[in-house]
Amino acid sequence: MGEDDTTYSIVTTVPQTTPPEILNRGQELSPTVDVYSLCATMYCLFESRNKEGDTYSGNHYPPLALSTNYQPVADIIMAGLNKDMEQRPSMDKLFKTLADFFHNGKWWFHRQLPPPELDPNFLPSLFSKNLGHRRSYVGIQTLFISIRQYRSKCQDKLSWIA
């Protein structure tokens, strides 16, 4: 066999967020390219066990397993992962569906974290502690620091919900 008969195959790792039409050179690209990539990125985030870089055979994604209340989210993401770019939802539709779902608060009834439990005695003790020297600069400074700590404590608990 001569040198000219030697065939080479190049093996590259294609990120799973790359849509099929990017690989088919010459095909005209449309904004649905970003719809596919965005849905694939969200798929990776929802399914934390699948790291980016892992390739599925033929860009085939298994159905997204989410909570029952999140079925509309799973449906629109799987629709965005359609190989046929004509069948994918538009960016406007994707954004509107997910934004409506999020802001309507349907997930509120299925939250995985318990409601925030703040110490009811924390705030009164905060003022009584600084009452003795409230006219002094140190007292005001301590009060501000305490309020800041209280706010950060609230935000830690509320950030998962709000």
């Binding site: 970003d34 929802f46 909570s67 997910l98 995985q112």
Partner: protein
């Protein structure tokens, strides 16, 4: 005097195409778009673009999150909340007639306190950063 870290992207393309890309970058004026500070020529006559610098990518954050013993799966409402600003940013650039083509976890940048979220993007040669609040 205060200093600020920036990200510098060195362009290897022709000047003619670079001018077009700079005009596109400059036209993206939106709260969701990070500041494009400007450009300059290096000593080796290469065009350098100056952008806002972000901390780490979402992929790096997620790996660190898993190493720290976080939950196996991220909370669903958290993922949704994370992705909505990015979707808004992509929608905005589509309205400007631009396609990203390379959205992935590695191209979404975050700040350590999650106060801002960024979408790094590669259009031919340019690295653009979209920031969402």
């Amino acid at each position: 005097m205060s200093y600020q870290s920036v990200a510098i992207q060195v362009s290897s393309n022709k000047i003619q195409s670079s001018i077009h890309e700079i005009s596109v970058l400059s036209s993206l004026r939106d709260p969701a778009v990070a500041t494009f500070y400007g450009w300059y020529f290096s000593r080796s006559s290469k065009l350098c673009l100056v952008f806002e610098q972000m901390a780490e990518s979402l992929e790096q954050w997620r790996e660190g999150f898993n190493e720290e013993g976080g939950p196996h799966k991220l909370p669903e409402q958290f993922v949704l909340k994370l992705c909505l600003p990015i979707m808004s940013a992509v929608k905005y650039i589509h309205q400007k007639g631009i396609i990203h083509r390379n959205i992935s976890l590695n191209n979404i940048m975050i700040s350590p306190d999650f106060s801002s979220l960024a979408l790094v993007w590669l259009v031919t040669w340019v690295r653009m950063i979209l920031r969402t609040r």
